[in-house]
């Protein structure tokens, strides 16, 4: 199963808590509990296997910004295609989340979501355009909407917004 394979490959990124976490997840906490847990304490980096029929994806991976490039590289080597990149502004936690969606062309269904949290004041992330050329526009769009700077991006100018746009409309404190 590709889900297992991907999971194994990605687990290499999270060395220490591997044993506990995987054993904890074998029990599969019910959805509500999981959601509540997530709310109480900020989520730790790691892999959560989600119920596809509820969430619409299989693997939910949260990585450190520094690990992002490596994680995407692993995904690329497993023949995933890039679906989209987007951001979420968690203004209360003073953080921004960037979500990368990946899926597969074959019938071995597995949707992988890679998310990473960065500081809201100085949002910076490495670009993944060297791996996925198609990330170019998605990163530019995320830069437009959230002001997240993708370091090393070849052409980080406004894409959907006007050329001279200096505002980021999807920030929660944006006032038109």
């Amino acid at each position: 199963m590709i889900v297992e394979k991907t999971r194994k490959a990605l687990e290499a990124l999270f060395p220490q808590p591997e044993q506990e976490e995987s054993s904890a997840e074998k029990i599969e906490p019910s959805e509500q509990e999981e959601a509540e847990q997530k709310e109480e304490t900020p989520r730790q980096n790691g892999i959560i296997e989600r119920d596809y029929s509820v969430h619409g994806y299989h693997l939910d991976v949260q990585v450190d910004p520094a690990q992002l490039y490596v994680a995407v590289k692993i995904i690329d080597e497993l023949d995933y295609f890039i679906e989209s990149i987007t951001g979420v502004d968690w203004i209360k936690e003073n953080q921004m989340e960037v979500i990368y969606d990946f899926s597969r062309y074959d019938f071995d269904l597995c949707r992988v979501v890679i998310r990473t949290r960065i500081d809201r004041e100085d949002p910076k992330l490495p670009t993944i355009t060297p791996i996925y050329a198609g990330a170019n526009w998605h990163e530019r769009e995320t830069h437009d909407f959230f002001g997240i700077k993708f370091e090393g991006h070849p052409h980080l100018i406004p894409l959907l917004l006007p050329e001279d746009a200096d505002f980021h409309p999807l920030l929660k404190d944006f006032k038109a």
Binding site: Q32, G56, F81, V88, Y105, V113, G134, L170
Partner: protein, 372 residues
């Protein structure tokens, strides 16, 4: 069909194709660096009709966002609405009556045919043939009349509701669909005779703009763009949703990777959609079109939800980040042509301008859907 010599920058010139250009079908601009008629490099500039649907999604309540989806893609609006309602139903846990799902599938497929027909006409018009557009519009008009009778509008339907539908279909609709299927099959034969076999058309498209599987993957292409490159990917099959597992249909795949393959995929899809409609009409169950206890106020529980559907233009994804209130915290719309169009810059390098524009036509672009 390749650039013979790489020239110095001062030996090339910049050609702005668009924002108003007949081949771009909307306000899209491609900045091309040209060496004579050869494209040395191209940069696509989009965003001329960007309307920030995602922000609107955050400001509006869940039901108020219905009509925005149909404004994303004016040719195949129902597919996008379908994705939206499926996502919210999944998130909020609303049961959908079976009849409603069947009617959704039938109308989405009708809409897909209408969209493909328009694409077919516009594509041939890009190549200089006028009459096929008019023939395609006649058939499309028939579909639009049917859909107008049941939904009330011709393009920007807001027909689906969380949990079901706005209106039930009637016998007259079923009758007209039954009449439409043989009519469309006859027209398809005509199109193949008039266009597909035509030597000029074939010479233009065969071998035009080869798109490798790897390029498709790196850009996340879907719909006929991927299927014309030998990728057997259709969300209706790979991630069955709604009542699609009940239907017996094929996913046309061609391995030539050229514009002709993309053309053939879409033409075959019309036939497959007809099959789905035929089966849907035959299997259509009786029953309500809305659940008995549809919630008045939609408040999905906290969390992150994703739904992908196969619209006429490809893999449309919609992500909801809910914070448990009656407004979405974040609503991300992943539009298929956005990824498909992104391919253009890389692929058109080294092509003649007329080949590049034929390739652009084969991508089936709807600009408001790229710009959102």
């Amino acid at each position: 069909m390749s650039v013979p010599i790489r020239l110095q920058p001062d030996e090339t010139f910049i050609l702005n194709v668009g924002p108003q250009h007949p081949a771009t079908h909307g306000v899209l601009r491609v900045k091309m660096e040209m060496d004579g008629e050869y494209i040395v490099s191209a940069e696509t500039v989009i965003g001329y009709i960007h309307r920030m649907h995602e922000k609107m999604g955050e400001i509006k309540t869940y039901p108020q966002f219905y009509m925005n989806l149909s404004r994303m893609d004016y040719l195949g609006a129902l597919g996008y609405s379908h994705g939206h309602v499926l996502l919210i139903e999944k998130a909020a846990g609303i049961e959908v009556p079976e009849r409603a799902e069947y009617i959704r599938a039938i109308t989405v497929e009708l809409n897909r045919i209408a969209s493909h027909l328009f694409w077919f006409g516009a594509f041939v018009m890009d190549l200089g043939g006028f009459s096929p557009l008019m023939y395609a519009l006649q058939d499309r008009e028939y579909i639009l009349d049917m859909l107008e009778r049941i939904t009330g509008s011709r393009l920007t339907y807001s027909y689906y509701r969380f949990g079901g539908l706005y209106n039930d279909i009637d016998d007259q609709f079923i009758e007209s669909v039954k009449k439409f299927i043989p009519r469309m099959r006859k027209s398809l034969k005509k199109y193949h005779k008039l266009v597909t076999g035509n030597i000029i058309f074939r010479k233009r498209l065969e071998g035009n703009a080869i798109l490798s599987k790897e390029t498709c993957r790196k850009y996340g292409a879907s719909s006929a763009v991927a299927r014309g490159s030998g990728i057997n990917y259709d969300v209706r099959r790979n991630e069955p949703y709604s009542v699609y597992p009940e239907f017996n249909f094929d996913i046309p795949v061609y391995h030539e990777c050229d514009s002709m393959a993309r053309y053939k995929v879409r033409m075959d899809e019309i036939e497959q959609s007809l099959r789905i409609i035929e089966q849907g009409i035959a299997k259509l169950p009786d029953g309500p079109i809305m659940p008995k206890k549809a919630p008045k106020i939609i408040k999905p529980p906290k969390g992150d939800y994703y739904q992908a559907v196969e619209t006429a233009r490809g893999n449309f994804g919609i992500r909801l980040v809910s914070d448990g209130t009656k407004n979405p915290y974040r609503l991300k719309l992943r539009s298929p042509t956005y990824s498909n169009m992104h391919l253009f810059d890389e692929t058109c390098t080294g092509l003649l301008i007329m080949d590049a524009l034929a390739f652009m036509g084969s991508l089936d672009l709807v600009i408001p859907e790229i710009d959102r």
